[in-house]
Protein backbone atom coordinates (compact mmCIF):
# COMPACT_ATOMS: atom_id res chain seq x y z
CA UNK A 1 0.00 0.00 0.00
CA UNK A 2 1.37 3.42 -0.96
CA UNK A 3 0.40 6.55 0.94
CA UNK A 4 0.78 9.77 -1.05
CA UNK A 5 2.22 12.06 1.64
CA UNK A 6 1.06 15.67 1.00
CA UNK A 7 4.60 17.02 1.55
CA UNK A 8 6.95 14.15 0.70
CA UNK A 9 5.13 12.33 -2.08
CA UNK A 10 4.33 8.61 -2.38
CA UNK A 11 5.71 6.54 0.50
CA UNK A 12 5.41 2.89 1.43
CA UNK A 13 2.85 2.29 4.17
CA UNK A 14 5.53 0.36 6.10
CA UNK A 15 6.98 3.76 7.00
CA UNK A 16 3.75 4.66 8.79
CA UNK A 17 1.99 3.55 11.94
CA UNK A 18 -1.81 3.32 12.04
CA UNK A 19 -3.11 5.45 14.90
CA UNK A 20 -6.85 4.84 14.72
CA UNK A 21 -10.03 6.57 13.67
CA UNK A 22 -9.57 10.21 12.59
CA UNK A 23 -12.54 11.13 14.82
CA UNK A 24 -9.99 11.20 17.64
CA UNK A 25 -9.30 14.75 16.42
CA UNK A 26 -12.76 15.79 17.65
CA UNK A 27 -12.12 15.73 21.37
CA UNK A 28 -15.37 16.46 23.27
CA UNK A 29 -15.83 19.61 25.33
CA UNK A 30 -14.88 18.70 28.94
CA UNK A 31 -17.18 21.45 30.27
CA UNK A 32 -20.30 20.15 28.52
CA UNK A 33 -23.21 18.76 30.59
CA UNK A 34 -22.81 15.42 28.85
CA UNK A 35 -19.00 15.33 29.14
CA UNK A 36 -18.85 11.97 30.95
CA UNK A 37 -20.93 10.22 28.28
CA UNK A 38 -19.11 12.11 25.48
CA UNK A 39 -15.70 11.03 26.71
CA UNK A 40 -16.89 7.45 27.20
CA UNK A 41 -17.95 7.39 23.56
CA UNK A 42 -14.78 9.22 22.45
CA UNK A 43 -12.57 6.81 24.34
CA UNK A 44 -14.26 3.48 23.62
CA UNK A 45 -16.78 3.52 20.79
CA UNK A 46 -15.66 3.21 17.17
CA UNK A 47 -17.49 2.72 13.90
CA UNK A 48 -16.25 -0.25 11.89
CA UNK A 49 -17.27 0.68 8.36
CA UNK A 50 -16.90 -1.66 5.41
CA UNK A 51 -15.96 1.08 2.97
CA UNK A 52 -14.55 4.59 3.19
CA UNK A 53 -12.93 5.46 6.49
CA UNK A 54 -10.93 8.49 7.73
CA UNK A 55 -7.87 7.24 9.58
CA UNK A 56 -4.91 8.72 11.42
CA UNK A 57 -1.51 7.57 10.23
CA UNK A 58 1.78 8.64 11.82
CA UNK A 59 4.83 8.92 9.55
CA UNK A 60 7.14 7.23 12.00
CA UNK A 61 9.98 6.44 9.57
CA UNK A 62 9.71 9.81 7.87
CA UNK A 63 9.01 13.35 8.95
CA UNK A 64 6.84 12.28 11.93
CA UNK A 65 3.82 14.18 10.71
CA UNK A 66 0.30 12.94 11.43
CA UNK A 67 -1.94 12.38 8.43
CA UNK A 68 -5.65 11.88 7.87
CA UNK A 69 -5.87 9.13 5.26
CA UNK A 70 -9.23 8.38 3.62
CA UNK A 71 -9.04 4.67 2.87
CA UNK A 72 -11.52 2.10 1.61
CA UNK A 73 -11.34 -0.75 4.10
CA UNK A 74 -12.64 -3.20 1.48
CA UNK A 75 -10.19 -2.42 -1.34
CA UNK A 76 -7.38 -0.52 0.44
CA UNK A 77 -7.85 2.22 -2.14
CA UNK A 78 -6.77 5.61 -0.77
CA UNK A 79 -8.73 8.58 -2.08
CA UNK A 80 -7.34 11.46 -0.02
CA UNK A 81 -4.37 12.24 2.24
CA UNK A 82 -4.21 15.41 4.33
CA UNK A 83 -1.99 16.70 7.12
CA UNK A 84 -3.88 16.08 10.36
CA UNK A 85 -3.04 19.55 11.62
CA UNK A 86 -4.70 21.11 8.57
CA UNK A 87 -7.82 19.00 9.22
CA UNK A 88 -7.81 19.96 12.90
CA UNK A 89 -7.36 23.64 12.13
CA UNK A 90 -10.12 23.58 9.53
CA UNK A 91 -12.40 22.31 12.30
CA UNK A 92 -11.40 25.19 14.56
CA UNK A 93 -8.87 23.33 16.71
CA UNK A 94 -5.38 24.52 17.71
CA UNK A 95 -6.51 28.08 18.08
Amino acid sequence: MIIDHPLLGPRDSAEFTYMGDARLIDRPDPDAETAAQDFYEYGYLRGNPAGWHDELWFHEAGDRSWLVVTRNTLTHEISKVQLARDVARSRGRSK
Binding site: L7, L8, E15, A61, G62, D63, R64, L83
Partner: protein, 187 residues
Protein backbone atom coordinates in the same frame (compact mmCIF):
# COMPACT_ATOMS: atom_id res chain seq x y z
CA UNK B 1 39.51 21.24 39.71
CA UNK B 2 38.28 18.43 37.49
CA UNK B 3 40.52 17.17 34.75
CA UNK B 4 37.93 16.23 32.12
CA UNK B 5 38.67 14.94 28.63
CA UNK B 6 36.14 15.48 25.85
CA UNK B 7 35.31 12.30 23.93
CA UNK B 8 33.62 11.77 20.60
CA UNK B 9 30.25 10.04 20.16
CA UNK B 10 32.02 6.69 19.68
CA UNK B 11 33.99 7.25 22.87
CA UNK B 12 37.41 8.00 21.37
CA UNK B 13 39.61 11.01 21.92
CA UNK B 14 39.78 11.48 18.16
CA UNK B 15 37.08 11.02 15.53
CA UNK B 16 37.10 7.54 14.09
CA UNK B 17 37.85 6.91 10.43
CA UNK B 18 37.11 3.56 8.78
CA UNK B 19 38.60 3.32 5.30
CA UNK B 20 37.54 0.55 2.91
CA UNK B 21 38.55 0.08 -0.70
CA UNK B 22 35.70 2.04 -2.22
CA UNK B 23 34.13 3.82 0.71
CA UNK B 24 35.27 5.74 3.77
CA UNK B 25 33.20 6.24 6.91
CA UNK B 26 34.29 9.21 8.98
CA UNK B 27 32.90 10.17 12.34
CA UNK B 28 32.34 13.92 12.16
CA UNK B 29 32.96 15.39 15.58
CA UNK B 30 33.09 19.02 14.50
CA UNK B 31 29.40 19.85 14.20
CA UNK B 32 27.27 22.15 16.33
CA UNK B 33 23.53 21.57 15.94
CA UNK B 34 20.35 23.30 17.03
CA UNK B 35 16.73 22.71 16.07
CA UNK B 36 14.33 25.49 15.18
CA UNK B 37 10.55 25.10 15.45
CA UNK B 38 8.38 27.98 14.26
CA UNK B 39 5.87 29.12 16.87
CA UNK B 40 2.23 29.15 15.89
CA UNK B 41 1.29 32.43 14.24
CA UNK B 42 4.95 33.42 13.78
CA UNK B 43 5.68 31.17 10.78
CA UNK B 44 6.26 34.04 8.33
CA UNK B 45 8.60 35.92 10.67
CA UNK B 46 10.48 32.69 11.33
CA UNK B 47 10.89 32.15 7.58
CA UNK B 48 12.36 35.65 7.25
CA UNK B 49 15.04 34.89 9.85
CA UNK B 50 15.78 31.53 8.20
CA UNK B 51 16.16 33.26 4.83
CA UNK B 52 18.59 35.76 6.32
CA UNK B 53 20.55 32.94 7.98
CA UNK B 54 20.67 30.37 5.16
CA UNK B 55 19.78 32.32 2.02
CA UNK B 56 16.50 30.42 1.64
CA UNK B 57 14.00 28.39 3.67
CA UNK B 58 14.62 24.62 3.26
CA UNK B 59 11.44 23.07 1.85
CA UNK B 60 10.15 19.55 2.59
CA UNK B 61 12.90 16.98 2.08
CA UNK B 62 15.49 19.66 1.34
CA UNK B 63 18.66 21.05 2.88
CA UNK B 64 20.38 24.36 2.24
CA UNK B 65 24.13 23.62 2.14
CA UNK B 66 25.18 27.12 3.13
CA UNK B 67 28.33 28.31 4.95
CA UNK B 68 28.90 28.61 7.81
CA UNK B 69 25.34 27.77 8.87
CA UNK B 70 23.55 25.02 6.97
CA UNK B 71 20.04 23.74 7.59
CA UNK B 72 17.59 21.05 6.62
CA UNK B 73 13.87 20.45 6.92
CA UNK B 74 12.88 17.96 9.64
CA UNK B 75 9.10 18.22 9.53
CA UNK B 76 6.35 20.80 9.09
CA UNK B 77 7.70 24.10 10.53
CA UNK B 78 10.79 22.37 11.96
CA UNK B 79 14.38 22.67 10.83
CA UNK B 80 17.82 21.60 12.02
CA UNK B 81 20.63 24.14 11.76
CA UNK B 82 24.25 23.02 11.75
CA UNK B 83 27.55 24.89 11.79
CA UNK B 84 31.22 24.17 12.55
CA UNK B 85 31.61 23.62 16.27
CA UNK B 86 34.89 25.51 16.47
CA UNK B 87 33.27 28.76 15.42
CA UNK B 88 29.68 28.13 16.62
CA UNK B 89 29.92 26.20 19.88
CA UNK B 90 27.07 28.29 21.31
CA UNK B 91 24.94 27.92 18.19
CA UNK B 92 21.65 27.48 20.05
CA UNK B 93 22.19 30.67 22.07
CA UNK B 94 23.13 32.61 18.94
CA UNK B 95 20.08 31.33 17.05
CA UNK B 96 17.82 31.95 20.02
CA UNK B 97 18.86 35.63 19.94
CA UNK B 98 18.25 35.83 16.19
CA UNK B 99 14.87 34.08 16.17
CA UNK B 100 13.57 35.73 19.34
CA UNK B 101 9.85 35.09 19.80
CA UNK B 102 9.35 33.63 16.33
CA UNK B 103 10.70 30.14 17.04
CA UNK B 104 11.71 27.73 19.76
CA UNK B 105 15.40 26.84 19.53
CA UNK B 106 16.81 23.72 21.16
CA UNK B 107 20.45 22.76 21.55
CA UNK B 108 21.03 19.47 19.64
CA UNK B 109 24.83 19.11 19.52
CA UNK B 110 24.87 16.52 22.27
CA UNK B 111 21.99 14.48 20.84
CA UNK B 112 23.39 13.40 17.48
CA UNK B 113 26.28 11.50 16.00
CA UNK B 114 27.36 12.47 12.51
CA UNK B 115 28.99 10.18 9.96
CA UNK B 116 30.29 11.26 6.57
CA UNK B 117 30.23 8.46 4.01
CA UNK B 118 32.33 9.13 0.92
CA UNK B 119 33.67 7.15 -2.00
CA UNK B 120 32.49 5.52 -5.22
CA UNK B 121 30.62 2.76 -3.32
CA UNK B 122 28.58 5.28 -1.31
CA UNK B 123 25.46 4.69 -3.45
CA UNK B 124 25.70 0.91 -3.04
CA UNK B 125 26.25 1.25 0.69
CA UNK B 126 23.35 3.66 1.10
CA UNK B 127 20.84 1.52 -0.76
CA UNK B 128 21.74 -1.51 1.34
CA UNK B 129 21.55 0.57 4.50
CA UNK B 130 18.19 2.31 4.27
CA UNK B 131 15.11 2.99 2.17
CA UNK B 132 15.92 6.44 0.79
CA UNK B 133 15.95 6.63 -3.03
CA UNK B 134 19.62 7.62 -3.05
CA UNK B 135 20.11 7.44 -6.82
CA UNK B 136 17.22 9.83 -7.40
CA UNK B 137 18.37 12.24 -4.69
CA UNK B 138 20.46 15.26 -5.69
CA UNK B 139 22.77 17.52 -3.70
CA UNK B 140 20.69 19.27 -1.07
CA UNK B 141 18.13 16.50 -0.58
CA UNK B 142 17.63 15.46 3.03
CA UNK B 143 15.38 12.66 4.26
CA UNK B 144 14.59 11.09 7.57
CA UNK B 145 14.58 7.32 7.47
CA UNK B 146 15.15 4.23 9.61
CA UNK B 147 18.66 2.77 9.73
CA UNK B 148 19.10 -0.29 11.94
CA UNK B 149 15.81 0.63 13.71
CA UNK B 150 17.16 4.14 14.43
CA UNK B 151 15.54 7.31 13.13
CA UNK B 152 18.30 9.01 11.13
CA UNK B 153 18.67 11.87 8.69
CA UNK B 154 20.40 11.21 5.38
CA UNK B 155 21.68 14.33 3.62
CA UNK B 156 23.10 14.28 0.13
CA UNK B 157 26.02 16.71 0.06
CA UNK B 158 27.58 18.73 -2.76
CA UNK B 159 30.09 16.06 -3.83
CA UNK B 160 28.39 13.31 -5.83
CA UNK B 161 29.92 10.55 -3.68
CA UNK B 162 29.20 12.08 -0.26
CA UNK B 163 26.31 11.55 2.13
CA UNK B 164 26.06 12.74 5.70
CA UNK B 165 24.14 10.63 8.20
CA UNK B 166 22.87 12.04 11.48
CA UNK B 167 21.72 9.49 14.03
CA UNK B 168 20.94 9.38 17.73
CA UNK B 169 24.18 9.86 19.67
CA UNK B 170 23.19 7.43 22.44
CA UNK B 171 23.11 4.70 19.75
CA UNK B 172 26.27 5.86 17.96
CA UNK B 173 27.90 2.45 18.40
CA UNK B 174 24.91 0.62 16.90
CA UNK B 175 24.72 2.98 13.93
CA UNK B 176 28.48 2.64 13.39
CA UNK B 177 28.11 -1.14 13.52
CA UNK B 178 25.39 -0.98 10.85
CA UNK B 179 27.57 1.23 8.65
CA UNK B 180 30.64 -1.01 9.01
CA UNK B 181 28.62 -4.17 8.34
CA UNK B 182 27.16 -2.62 5.19
CA UNK B 183 30.55 -1.33 4.08
CA UNK B 184 31.94 -4.88 4.38
CA UNK B 185 29.09 -6.20 2.22
CA UNK B 186 29.82 -3.75 -0.62
CA UNK B 187 33.62 -3.83 -0.31
Amino acid sequence: MHDLMPITALGGTEARIDAFDHVTITENDGLALASVAARMGHEKACHTVLEKLLGAVPGPGKAILHDPEAGFWMGPDQWMIGAPRDSHELLADQLSDQFGETASVTEQSGAWVCFDVTGPAMLDLCERLCAVPIRRMVAGDAQRTMIHQLGCFVIRRQDADHIRILGPRASAGSLHHALITTAHSVA
